[in-house]
């Protein structure tokens, strides 16, 4: 199995896809290319969306998608930078049903909106909870007396 992802994928990816220097299986894409890129990657055998997470870098958000393959040990990391004030990106629910809960978790804890998500509600915190706990500017109100 060819594990040189850059060689294998680069000519099919959009022009503005940027590979990271540290690792050979990570690259950034623009948020408008998301459905096109992930549809292509799914056809290439990255058929399992293992995880979605997000990072708060204070100036911008970064959404991190972990893609794996059921057929071999391939593992790919796709990152998208999002605007801090209005972070929103297309949902991957149309490609992977598992994106439903993964995106709800990211929405719940980080406040990133997923466009065309079927049921974008809080999943871990309770109804009526205010704020997004994993953001850097969130101040935790505990019960200490």
């Amino acid at each position: 199995m060819n594990k040189n992802y850059k060689e294998m994928l680069d000519k099919h990816l959009p022009q503005d896809a940027v590979w990271t220097e540290e690792k050979d299986n990570e690259f950034y894409i623009k948020d408008q290319d998301i459905l096109e890129v992930f549809g292509f990657l799914k056809e290439q055998g990255f058929n399992f969306l293992a995880d979605i997470s997000a990072v708060d870098y204070k100036e911008y958000f970064e959404v991190v998608y972990q893609l794996c393959s059921f057929d071999d040990d391939r593992h790919l990391v796709v990152k998208i930078k999002l605007d801090y004030q209005n972070p929103q990106v297309q949902s991957l629910y149309s490609l992977w049903k598992t994106a439903d809960w993964l995106e709800r978790e990211v929405y719940d804890l980080m406040g990133i909106k997923f466009i065309n998500h079927p049921n974008l509600e809080r999943i871990l915190t309770w109804e009526g909870f205010e704020g997004y706990p994993l953001r850097k500017d969130f101040i935790s109100q505990g019960g200490r007396e």
């Binding site: 871990l124 915190t125 309770w126 909870f129 935790s140 109100q141 505990g142 019960g143 200490r144």
Partner: protein, 171 residues
């Protein structure tokens, strides 16, 4: 009965010496309750492992008559809150408590249930189950050893047997 016949009757002490006991219905019921508390099988975190351990052969909670862990709140007397109660879980815990038939008791097992424990500053954790339920016995520890749970159950037995010494708090 005439006053002159009074001396024919024996005093309570004299009767007890002969093996005849006097008591009230309440006392008998509380005595029975205290020796056969049925806990509600209800584990929220790692303290539940110690609770399981207390029932197993080494510590053997059934020596005291408390081994009948029920899966339904309607058959249980005592809710052992074994672990961290989050705000999301709190409505369910309250509902289960209200589904238990009276008289009912609550044991807070472990630091999390007593006061929030290491998670007291968290946005998601209830800082002590006594914020939402009336707790009868607090068992500190992280997690408490099975001996501590047994001691707590025996303390609850003392409480059940001596209702005059403790006054129930209303919520």
């Amino acid at each position: 009965m005439g006053v002159d016949k009074e001396k024919q009757y024996l005093s309570q002490n004299e009767l007890e010496e002969k093996g005849i006991l006097f008591t009230s219905i309440d006392k008998v019921l509380n005595w029975a309750r205290g020796w056969s508390l049925w806990p509600f099988q209800f584990g929220l975190a790692c303290c539940a492992i110690e609770m399981i351990c207390a029932v197993q052969a080494r510590y053997d909670l059934s020596r005291f008559g408390y081994e009948v862990f029920r899966n339904s709140p309607r058959q249980a007397d005592v809710m052992i809150v074994a672990g961290t109660v989050t705000h999301k879980m709190a409505p369910s815990v309250q509902r289960l408590y209200h589904q238990m038939a009276e008289p009912r008791w609550v044991i807070a097992l472990g630091n999390c249930a007593v006061s929030g424990g290491p998670f007291v500053d968290s946005y998601a954790v209830v800082a002590g189950v006594d914020k939402i339920l009336p707790v009868d016995v607090y068992i500190p520890g992280c997690p408490p050893r099975p001996e501590a749970l047994i001691h707590g159950m025996l303390q609850l037995k003392e409480k059940v047997n001596n209702p005059a010494k403790v006054r129930l708090r209303k919520i």
